[in-house]
């Protein structure tokens, strides 16, 4: 094998004490996703290569690399909702907003996520908008629901 007698290196991947995961959680909590520039700053601060940070970021589906829409639509695809036409509801929302699951509308107004489960199976199929639950949603109800959650202005960049 090649000789490896000369640690320490410029970096040596993630050290046990680097706190990488906690730092990434904090960034996502602050921004709603992990912006690339923030990941780069974190890389310099912790001495963890950016390549390793992105390995972690893309390993866990929890972390987001794109800015999410400002209003989050969560369609439930748990067992009960799935059996009660949840997938039909999802298709209808996708058609209405023109985006796929996990995506944001181009204006950044709405974010569409698929989740399982929201814990109110008796109300299936369920749609949650931000933290408001809508029960037994029929695709025809959708325009009315969206009207109650009109697009908000983007946050000022600071």
């Amino acid at each position: 094998m090649l000789s490896a007698d000369t640690k320490p290196r410029r970096t040596s991947g993630v050290r046990a004490d680097s706190g990488l995961l906690n730092a990434l959680h904090a960034l996502q909590a602050e921004h709603g996703y992990v912006p690339r520039q923030e990941a780069m700053a974190l890389s310099r601060r912790l001495g963890v290569p950016l390549a390793r940070i992105f390995e972690v970021l893309t390993f866990y589906s929890y972390f987001r690399l794109e800015e999410p829409g400002r209003i989050t639509l969560s369609v439930c695809d748990g067992t009960s909702c799935h059996l009660q036409e949840g997938p039909v509801l999802l298709k209808a929302i996708q058609a209405l907003l023109g985006i796929g699951a996990g995506e944001a509308t181009p204006d950044g107004a709405y974010q569409l996520n698929v989740v399982r489960c929201l814990g109110c199976c008796s109300c299936s199929p369920v749609l949650m908008v931000d933290d408001k639950i809508y029960s037994q949603v029929d695709p025809a109800d959708l325009p009315g629901i969206l009207k109650k959650h009109p697009p908000t202005a983007p946050k000022e960049a600071n």
Partner: protein, 582 residues
């Protein structure tokens, strides 16, 4: 020593050996795709599974320590069947395009598929479309072909400490890419090509530029000139059945002429010029600018890129001297063109290098155009020249091993030859620096302490009353420790730990370059190095300054080393560069 049995044979292996190593000691070959002799095991591919008496499941031979009294079975029908299934699974996610793949005929996966006689696909296809990345112009990344063995990552991250490549996502979606799917050219990649030299398949290859060379060779208005780097002559033969280290310089000059090159020079001559300039720089700094010591060598373009990205605070210590092939390119389009009355614009200069990074180097900075145009037009790797020779139908063994390169940029000293091996630049520079400092030849020319494959080699050597402390590092992962000592001494205002540092990015130096023949290991590196050191020993002239063609070059054209003309043509500049472009 541990005693165990493999397939009923008694074997003795040192403590700490793996089952894979024990089997090898018993002359039993266990197939593996992820384990490379250079690298620690990753246990990724699973092909090396074996049975161990008393263990409930199959274990991976690459990562299971051999134990006293172990009874190992490596090739019973059940094991072979498991391996076949694993291979079929790997193949179900691997494009079926061997005929148009750059690794065809030298692919480790193809070889195993052949050995296992796989004729049908039993699993549904998991192949994916992913974009190819040619952005560096040095390395071609085709993530569709990746079998996720992790060898390239081990080289790029742990051994080279570059961290350009990573595994993005997980499970079936895993793919090799720079952080966040930017292009390789936007990443910290320093183009060393060690990923390509360790990839078992065609997922990472040298960026092929052979067609551009053929085109120039077909053009009757072009005066085509080739130069061969020292380490190419002791590696290229491996693809044609020669032992590593077999020196084919004569056959290669001959082959290049047969391919249609009008003139064939030798990069070894460029190395002699590099030494004239670099040893003079060293002597000058020892005499009048000791604050600019240690002097750090810059022949290796990956190392230069690495320094500019990660160690820009050391720029004042870099030798400003260009690398040997860059110097030879400049001199071909100035000195040689002038001497022979050839229009420099009609010259097409091709470097044959052990290296993928030389493709980047030839346009890296304005000084690479010192002749007025681009000094070196194309830089090919050993592997590209191998293909061109095959296309020409040349049988190397029938060529003239005594063929000589052309004058005035072909005749070289022994010092020029050993540039291709770690420690060689230092050794050559010390031979000449002694002369520049004392005006006398040094009796002792060889520095045994600077040879071999240890990651860092150190020596104190007396040159004309000066005790010179030198260090040689190869493999970029070994550089940090050397530079950190310099940095700490500066911070504390202490004397410098070194006066002169040589660095080569690739393990072993250019003989282990990223563009060399496949299947490198330390054993192969040692054989290639021995081939070069042997040629140095038989040379009549073993110091650059004593090479009569070097003397003529300085007398007729350059004046003195470090003259204004030499500085303009043979030296370069450095600048800090960002690790990531975005």
């Amino acid at each position: 020593m541990i005693q165990l049995t493999v397939n009923g044979f008694e074997v003795q292996v040192p403590e700490g050996s793996t089952i894979l190593e024990a089997a090898k000691a018993a002359e039993i070959k266990i197939p593996t795709l992820c384990k490379h002799p250079d690298l620690p095991p990753t246990a990724a591919c699973g092909l090396c599974v074996v049975k161990v008496e008393g263990m409930p499941d199959l274990v991976r031979a690459c990562s299971t320590p051999a134990q006293p009294g172990m009874q190992v079975e490596t090739h019973d029908p059940e094991i072979v069947n498991v391996r076949r299934t694993l291979l079929e699974l790997i193949l179900s996610a691997h494009p079926n395009e061997c005929l148009t793949c750059g690794r065809h005929g030298a692919c480790e996966l193809q070889e195993l598929a052949k050995d296992f006689g796989i004729r049908e696909e039993h699993f549904p296809s998991l192949r994916r479309e992913l974009p190819r990345d040619d952005s560096t112009g040095c390395i071609t990344l085709d993530p569709r072909k990746c079998i996720k063995c992790g060898r390239c990552l081990e080289m790029c991250q742990e051994q080279q400490d570059v961290w350009a490549l990573s595994f993005m996502e997980r499970g079936l979606n895993t793919r090799i890419a720079p952080a966040g799917d930017i292009s390789l050219a936007e990443s910290p990649c320093v183009h060393c090509g060690q990923c390509s030299a360790h990839c078992p398949v065609g997922a990472i290859l040298e960026f092929d530029q052979t067609e551009a060379v053929w085109e120039a060779l077909r053009d009757p208005t072009r005066h085509c000139v080739a130069q061969i780097a020292p380490s190419v002559r002791v590696s290229l033969g491996e693809a044609f059945g020669y032992e590593p280290g077999a020196n084919l310089a004569g056959q290669l000059y001959h082959a290049l002429r047969r391919m249609g090159f009008d003139t064939v020079f030798d990069t070894n001559f460029g190395a002699d010029v590099t030494i004239m300039e670099e040893a003079s720089e060293l002597a000058e700094r020892i005499r009048s600018a000791p604050e600019k010591l240690p002097l750090i060598t810059t022949c290796c373009p990956s190392w230069v890129d690495f320094m500019e990205k990660f160690h820009a605070d050391m720029i004042d210590h870099f030798s400003t001297c260009k690398s040997p092939h860059a110097i030879l390119g400049t001199l071909t389009k100035t000195y040689y063109a002038e001497k022979e009355g050839i229009d420099p614009d009609s010259i097409f200069m091709v470097s044959i290098m052990p290296c993928t990074a030389k493709k980047y180097e030839i346009t890296r900075e304005a000084s690479m155009y010192a002749s007025g145009g681009q000094d070196v037009d194309i830089s090919l790797t050993t592997r590209e020249l191998t293909r061109m020779i095959r296309q020409t139908g040349i049988a190397l063994e029938n060529l003239n091993c005594l063929e000589l390169p052309d004058s005035p940029l072909g005749e070289y000293s022994g010092a020029g030859v050993i540039f291709g091996v770690s420690g060689g630049v230092m050794e050559s520079a010390l031979r000449s620096a002694h002369y520049f400092l004392t005006g006398e030849d040094r009796a002792e020319l060889e520095f045994e302490e600077l040879r071999g494959l240890d990651g860092i080699k150190e020596l104190t050597v007396n040159l004309g009353g000066h005790d010179l402390r030198v260090a040689v590092a190869h493999g970029l992962g070994h550089v940090e420790q050397v530079l950190e000592r310099v940095r700490q001494a500066k911070l504390k205002g202490e004397p410098m730990p070194y006066d002169f540092i040589e660095v080569m990015a690739c393990p072993g130096g250019c003989i282990g370059g990223g563009g060399q023949s496949w299947n490198v290991s330390n054993a192969v590196r040692e054989q290639r190095a021995a081939g070069l050191l042997k040629e140095d020993r038989v040379q009549e002239v073993r110091t650059s300054y004593a090479n009569p063609w070097i003397q003529q070059l300085y007398r007729d054209f350059l004046g003195e080393p470090l003259s204004e003309k030499a500085r303009h043509l043979l030296h370069t500049r450095y600048q800090p560069r960002p690790e990531y472009l975005r």
